[in-house]
């Protein structure tokens, strides 16, 4: 049990110019929290985790675990356990030996190791496989062994580096729920890295979004979805992605094709002086309206039917350019390909405005 904090921690890879893989990351993770680090490839999320693990140097700043500065402590002294993306199970050891290896190195008596391994195996439904070698296990079982190896050690922090990315879609959803439940039960501080924003949203108590080594925002899943701090977070969180378009604004509101979307006072104030903004609206906040009503003219280019609802991709003219929009509509009555439809904003409170250059959120 421990809290974790990154204090302006940086990892700089040598090169010309040097790459700041993680750039002055400051993050507080409280005891027992499940924090998800999410971002696209190359965002530095894995590097940030490996810095905490002690597998990467911390070139600037510091990392504290349980109030203790561990910046220069080797992995061994940090009391952490890690689940690797590839699981990294020792191929020549049985499941039980794999799980008990850390305890064996620590000199824990054999009977105690056996008891702990069996307890963890029971928790993960692995009792039947304890004497098998990893290569005789399925992907899901290996994943559980990797989890078990971490649990047996009873560390103060769990680190997980994309532990589900080698599983098939169904198993991933199942295991996602199991890991979240397990973490709840053990109450161990957990840092979890993923590139999958659905995993991030469903598992994390809080989610930290990284891009190019910089922390973009760290908040609860709900807050990230409702109030993204910038255009990147807005586009990254939520599936399908938010529609983000640069549109002209005036005192009445944002000008889209044929309609003017009214904006709140505070948003207009924040955008004061700008004649263009990045206008963001989620597919679910848009809707198709009868042809007589006011709305943007959209030509349907693609319809993705998901069952409960359908995603309609289409082109809308904004200024002189044709822009692509995605609208979420009822699954039973989707429009057909090539059809011209009217699209209107269903809920004006779900509009996000960002600075057209910096991408920062406008309005307080």
């Amino acid at each position: 049990m421990a809290e974790v904090s990154y204090v302006k921690a940086s990892r700089i890879f040598s090169g010309n110019p040097p790459v700041r893989a993680v750039d002055e990351l400051s993050l507080e993770v409280s005891d027992g929290e499940f924090l998800v680090l999410v971002g696209p490839s190359g965002s530095g999320k894995s590097t940030a985790l490996r810095m905490l693990a002690g597998l990467e140097d911390i070139d600037e700043g510091a990392i504290h675990i349980g109030g203790k500065d561990v910046t220069n402590v080797p992995p061994k002294g940090r009391d952490i356990a890690m689940v690797f993306q590839s699981y990294a199970l020792y191929p020549h050891m049985t499941v039980a030996e794999n799980m008990g290896f850390a305890l064996k190195l620590r000199g824990v008596p054999k009977t105690e190791i056996k008891a702990k391994v069996e307890e963890a195996a029971k928790m993960l439904d692995l009792q039947k496989y304890l004497e098998r070698k990893p290569k005789a296990l399925s992907g899901g079982q290996r994943q559980r062994v990797a989890m078990g190896r971490a649990i047996v050690r009873e560390p103060s922090v769990f680190l997980m580096d994309e532990p589900l990315s080698n599983l098939d879609a169904k198993l991933r959803v199942e295991t996602r729920a199991n890991i979240a439940a397990l973490q709840q039960r053990l109450g161990t501080t957990t840092i979890y890295v993923t590139h999958d924003q659905v995993e991030a949203m469903t598992m994390g108590h809080r989610v930290a979004v990284l891009k190019d080594g910089l922390l973009q925002q760290c908040d609860t899943p709900r807050a990230l979805y409702d109030r993204p701090a910038n255009a990147f977070v807005a586009g990254f969180i939520g599936s399908p992605a938010m529609n983000l378009k640069t549109v002209p604004i005036s005192a009445e509101g944002a000008k889209l094709d044929g309609i003017i979307v009214p904006l709140t006072r505070s948003a207009l104030d924040a955008a004061g002086g700008l004649d263009e903004v990045t206008f963001g609206i989620r597919p679910e906040a848009l809707g198709i309206v009868p042809s007589g009503e006011e709305g943007m003219d959209m030509t349907v280019e693609l319809v993705e039917e998901l069952g409960a609802d359908a995603l309609v991709h289409g082109a809308v003219k904004i200024g002189d350019a044709s822009q692509r929009f995605v609208v979420r509509v009822d699954g039973r009555t989707p429009p057909t390909l090539g059809q011209h439809v009217k699209v209107a904003v269903r809920d004006t409170t779900e509009i996000h405005l960002f600075h057209p250059e910096s991408g920062e959120r406008l309005e307080a």
């Binding site: 693990a53 002690g54 992995p75 061994k76 191929p91 290896f101 850390a102 620590r106």
Partner: protein, 305 residues
């Protein structure tokens, strides 16, 4: 049977040339060699078409085996030669493996000029064995050789390396180690590079010291490569003729089974083909027994072979 041939004649036709070649080049000489061990064939009684002389050798049963296995000096002192062969084989393979592994571990890290070191270390392998053997022979020269000059300059005793003493065996072992290390190094380097890096990271997270990581990740990861190269190394070294013969010549202090078989076949008053063949068959049987035991041991460890 008919259907079997109808169906598979093509496959048999394809392997037939290879079977014929192997039969002519390997099986026939082998059978002939085994036959010779039961005769008293030598230069004086073998058929000689030039002199228009028919073969006059006789079948003598197990007499050759009895003579050789009794270990008499005039038949090459089989048992003490076998012991020397084993000392030679195991010290060579042990040093090949340990030195090769050490170098492979060094080369497996990120060091500046790694490519250059790798080329330099593989060089002994690229030089034809007889050239390096002669170079070493000169270096071992008791009076003018560079090794003794160095030893003298630091005040150490300078042995007669290639004389009638056990130093001759030490010398040929040194040369063979120098020649054989590159192969082990390259094979083990390949093995090291096939061990996934995250296993080391996982071991580090589990709290393993560098030695424990070597013992619990590196060595098990190298096991299948090691078992193969050690077996090959033992077979090759057991039969390593050129190094010993080119450096030490027919020196009984550096004699191993194959060099004695060669001596018996090509030199001496009467070239004794029968005893040479007997040695050949005995070498083959020693290696067969060894390979069988080795394989069983590996199988017990769960290695697939």
């Amino acid at each position: 049977m008919r259907r079997f041939l109808d169906r598979y004649w093509y496959a048999y036709a394809m392997v037939l040339p290879v079977v014929v070649v192997i039969a002519v080049l390997v099986l026939y000489p082998l059978a002939q060699g085994v036959f010779f061990t039961f005769t008293n064939i030598n230069e004086g009684n073998i058929a000689n078409p030039i002199l228009d002389r028919p073969a006059t050798y006789d079948v003598v049963g197990f007499k050759n085996y009895l003579n050789v296995l009794s270990g008499g000096e005039s038949y090459g002192a089989f048992w003490s030669t076998l012991v020397r062969t084993l000392i030679w084989t195991f010290s060579c393979v042990f040093l090949h493996y340990t030195v090769g592994l050490g170098l492979a571990l060094l080369l497996n890290r990120q060091v500046r000029g790694r490519a250059l070191y790798r080329v330099l270390l593989i060089l002994p392998w690229a030089v034809p064995a007889f050239i390096s053997a002669f170079a070493w022979k000169y270096m071992f020269n008791a009076q003018y050789g560079i090794i003794n000059q160095l030893l003298r300059s630091v005040g150490l005793p300078d042995p007669v390396w290639l004389g009638q003493s056990d130093w001759a065996l030490v010398s040929v072992i040194i040369v063979n180690v120098w020649l054989g290390v590159p192969f082990m190094m390259v094979a083990l380097l390949g093995g090291l590079q096939s061990i996934p890096g995250d296993l080391y990271e996982a071991a580090e997270m589990d709290g393993a010291t560098p030695w424990q990581r070597f013992r619990h990740v590196t060595l098990p990861g190298l096991r299948s490569v090691s078992s193969t190269v050690v077996l090959l190394g033992i077979i090759w070294t057991f039969n390593m003729f050129p190094v010993i013969y080119l450096i030490a010549g027919p020196n009984p202090n550096a004699r191993i089974l194959v060099t004695y078989a060669f001596e018996r076949f090509f030199s001496g008053a009467s070239r004794d083909y029968a005893i040479a063949s007997t040695y050949g068959v005995l070498i083959l049987s020693v290696l067969l027994v060894f390979a069988a035991i080795y394989r069983r041991a590996l199988r017990k460890q769960g290695e697939v072979w």
